[in-house]
Symmetry: D2
């Protein structure tokens, strides 16, 4: 960390700054260039609130020389994180398609969809049991019974399963869930992230709709810092003024995240758009942008879905989409995991 | 709820829609206007996912005839909600200023600030103990010890206190906290909202930076639906492309919320801007826009604050600000509570 | 257009509304459903400001039964618009790659780049001559001399050329320019759009960074309404809080626009991201999302570019990208035009 | 301008950077601090595209030591710009209220409104004659005839007038218009700004809905650089996801602009919100935030307005608002100009 002072810095403020810095657990060194003082900081810089340094009038600029997300940083850890769940591999050149309904509704429903998406090439089954809903009056999920039905479908098909957690207290129900999803609204539920950092479960962390890529990586860092390195990032759209789609899929975040971090990067064309009619094209765009996987909502009877049916595609649309996914992935050097 | 069908609607889809509706716990009635069918729905409409109805091709439009936030709605409950905490009144023509540091740092610090802001006219003391921080490496608050120190300052000054909760498990520590704050990142932490709905504590609910006014009211509804009517709304800025400020204070939400709901409406010029130099002007703007109160960060030594010092104003700047607050409020028909 | 009145509408306001409507050049008819009046409007509805109708308290909802962009609407004109420039075809299943430097800098530069991008498979040459720049002190383009040099490159390579117009007065310089670009900042420069509507030149219209998809189509409508049907739409990113990229490419707008309009839909991965390192991945994503073409900035010496070098890719990166473009397009049923 | 190089910078890239810099018309000097090279640039830096410097891998940071908007900068010109139009003073402690209809519709309409707003305390009359409209089919203004009617109202009341220009070619019609407005959509119509920089007319420049405060100042700089120092800035809302209001008034930009520039700062509560019911509260908020004036749409018959009636307040609502404006302004040290 380098602080460049103004050439006309007031000496009193410089003294104040140095005193302030000296009270932190870091080392400070000074040099001079063109009459301006240059201060170098070393040590445990993560604990310092840099917005405070800018309050000192004498400061011209602050230059970070390291990523704040030290464990998530590709600069620090160049090799791709590869996550293994049984025979299945996430990251490391494999492309995985997570598919399934927004909500688990019944044993029949989840089993039927599971078999159908597996036949088309999905490698992981999704199904919501604990549902965060904008309205307190909307269907809130089958909760632990939903998880049980999802596990039945897992046994039937052999597919690993992913489901969303909405509160720490529900953690015991996720023992047989292969991947725990942290939804967009909980991306900065730090208490939940800390707790998940103490498990060794793969975590699918979704980006919040108002969060920057850097904040996304800092949330991953919460989990990594706890010792759990099995984190999968999932872009799912940011909130903008455009109202023909639910959110705006930030497709550029996919290749960017691949550069900034070694963690696997997925994208969710269903929640980002909220419109079944464009989900297949968006999924293909995610492949082409270099994602390690996509997560797609598929429902055997979308208009009767308990939640989010407007964005669910039918098993038949999913099958057509997968044919193209399998053609595009090799062009990007990826192997579709079946 | 009225559904208008297209004049050229396909009969098969209309039958599908009616069948779908008939499976819900609502009553359906049809009429015709200009060759288009008009369907009226009555009953427990809150449980229906209206985005699904739009999926039926035959639907031209859906007209809501009631607010989704039934308990928060001023249309349903025209009279202002007035919250009483000891001698103090929130809402109902009173203007309250919440002031204090971002984080409680020590008994001396919180007591000194408390006495100083009380002398200037603040009626409620704030102080963070459980801190949600973007970085896992940043100061996370003094936790329960912070709450204890805050209670000491309450005893000393007689001021009611407000502090943020970040997880349900911390609820027992808030027994002597007068107002529990739900931060912007937790506005859609529905499990937390449900739990707070079961208490009778006043809740200061902050708007999420990516959430609409309607979603804000739906989150308040979670608390109200649980039986807790003591909810204070607090606008604190939405996220935009402008980067000279941390967020963009949506000042228009203040008069709008006053029309849409009977709940007290506060605003937070400190977190919304992230810049101490414009906080006083923004606070005055909130008064003039018709807010029932503001929440302002004040620190006796901003550059040495443990968190968010960049947006904290000094006790002396706060005193100057309060002089003007006291002059503006009466123009808006408000009485400043001292 | 159907207006549904409230069931408890005040009769005086209903009379006011009808009087107001009667003064417009439209026909009005009434029907009744469930005690609510339903009003049907017919005639030249485009001239009516519907936000005004909402001001009448008696109105419950307004249902549009037609697209506001009548000439641009695919509902009204289902067949793809196909634009021919000499032997070249835009739209109708052809995929075109527009490539070239941000600014024309010299005859040598533009010719060298033209030959290089042509060899890799670009079909149209771009080059800015009149440059809109945020700073009045930045390089503003070679203006008419730039156009001349671009024409030289066209003669040399046989490639059609596209260049941006920034003011009506420059129109005479564009006689030998095949496609006139309207930049994002001018998407709502309606005087310019009207003027271009009177020409028969193909127009490449870029979406404004704060404009919705519907507004984008309304701007195209300005040109179409003037009689010029040769309009190409180009998505180039909307402005969001994310600051690692210049704008956020709204990839979902590509498949959405293909549904809403018959006009060819392009996308610009260079201006949307502002980062050369992710441009190739974004361009491939645009192919996969179903675009009819992309526009990519290529510079033989990016760091020495007069403008926007940060987002220009090298001819060699472009060649690698084109190899993949040619592989992806057939999967989407598109033929790359060479 | 100071460029800090990375401590592990590759020597070849450093040489490239220096060569690149040496080709610019600037002076370069080097120093060393902690093994990192520090480069100081001096000369005509405004012409350099700094995004290009960042492309050189060896660069750690760039520190600007001056505002890019050199004429608009308060740092460079500390004293408030004061604009005089006859007896009227804008800036310098005076608070001006611009009021009038969105569009001039008839002589009677504009005269009636002019007399009414003058009686309530407005000092400047607004009225649109050349109207930028999203739809090509909407009313586009009375054009030059509208300006004539506005001038009649000026003669009748003695109020200076302001009207919007949408294209350079219309400039001759503005000879007797006291203040020329550049609308939000034209904030980056640089050709128009350059032309207005060559006049000496006061210009009311509105902020674009997707433009940062810095870009706003750079657009003002276009006019100032041409020699016209009579620029008034007008905040009118940025575009966000919130859809209960047309735009989101960035109230924080008011006190911020007052710090960054010496130009007068106005705000427009009407266009920013698009809702008459909250305009008065927003106008008061602008006063309290420290604006030098507000611009408010007033119509004698809002529902019959030719354009934007939904946001126009009645003369009676305006009168009530002005009573409060006159009470708030002195608290902020401003004198309302009548």
């Amino acid at each position: 960390m380098i602080i460049l002072l103004k050439s006309d810095a007031d000496q009193k403020t410089v003294t104040d700054l140095k005193e302030w810095l000296s009270r932190r657990d870091i080392s400070i060194e000074s040099a001079y260039a063109f009459g301006s003082e240059v201060i170098k900081l070393e040590g445990d810089l993560d604990k310092i609130d840099f917005s405070l340094i800018k309050r000192f009038d004498c400061v011209a600029s602050i230059t970070k020389t390291r990523d704040s997300y030290k464990f998530a940083s590709r600069h620090n850890y160049p090799d791709d994180t590869v996550i293994r769940i049984g025979d299945l591999t996430i990251g490391g050149g494999m492309f995985n398609v997570i598919a399934g309904p927004c909500s688990v509704e019944s044993s029949e429903q989840i089993k039927e969809i599971a078999e159908s998406v597996k036949a088309s090439g999905a490698s992981i089954l999704r199904g919501g049991a604990f549902k965060p809903r904008t309205s307190p009056y909307a269907f809130q999920g089958l909760k632990s019974r939903g998880i049980e039905k999802l596990i039945e479908a897992k046994k039937l098909t052999g597919m690993p399963i992913v489901s969303e957690i909405v509160d720490i207290s529900a953690l015991p129900f996720f023992d047989h869930v292969d991947i725990i999803q942290v939804g967009a609204r909980n991306m900065q539920n730090f208490e939940l992230l800390k707790e998940l950092g103490h498990t060794r479960k793969p975590i699918l962390l979704k980006r919040g709709p108002a969060n920057t890529i850097e904040e996304f990586l800092m949330s991953a860092e919460y989990i990594l810092a706890g010792g759990n390195t099995n984190v999968i990032l999932c872009e799912r759209g940011v909130r903008t003024f455009e109202n023909m789609t639910r959110n705006t899929l930030d497709i550029a975040s996919v290749p960017l995240l691949k550069k900034l971090t070694h963690l696997p990067v997925f994208a969710d064309p269903s929640h980002s758009s909220g419109r079944a009619d464009i989900v297949p094209n968006l999924a293909l765009a995610c492949c082409a942008a270099g994602a390690d996987g996509v997560m797609v909502e598929v429902h055997n009877d979308p208009v009767n879905a308990f939640s989010d049916g407007a964005q669910s595609i039918t098993p038949s649309a999913f099958r057509d989409m997968m044919i193209k996914v399998k053609e595009i992935c090799p062009i990007l050097g990826k192997t579709v995991q079946c």
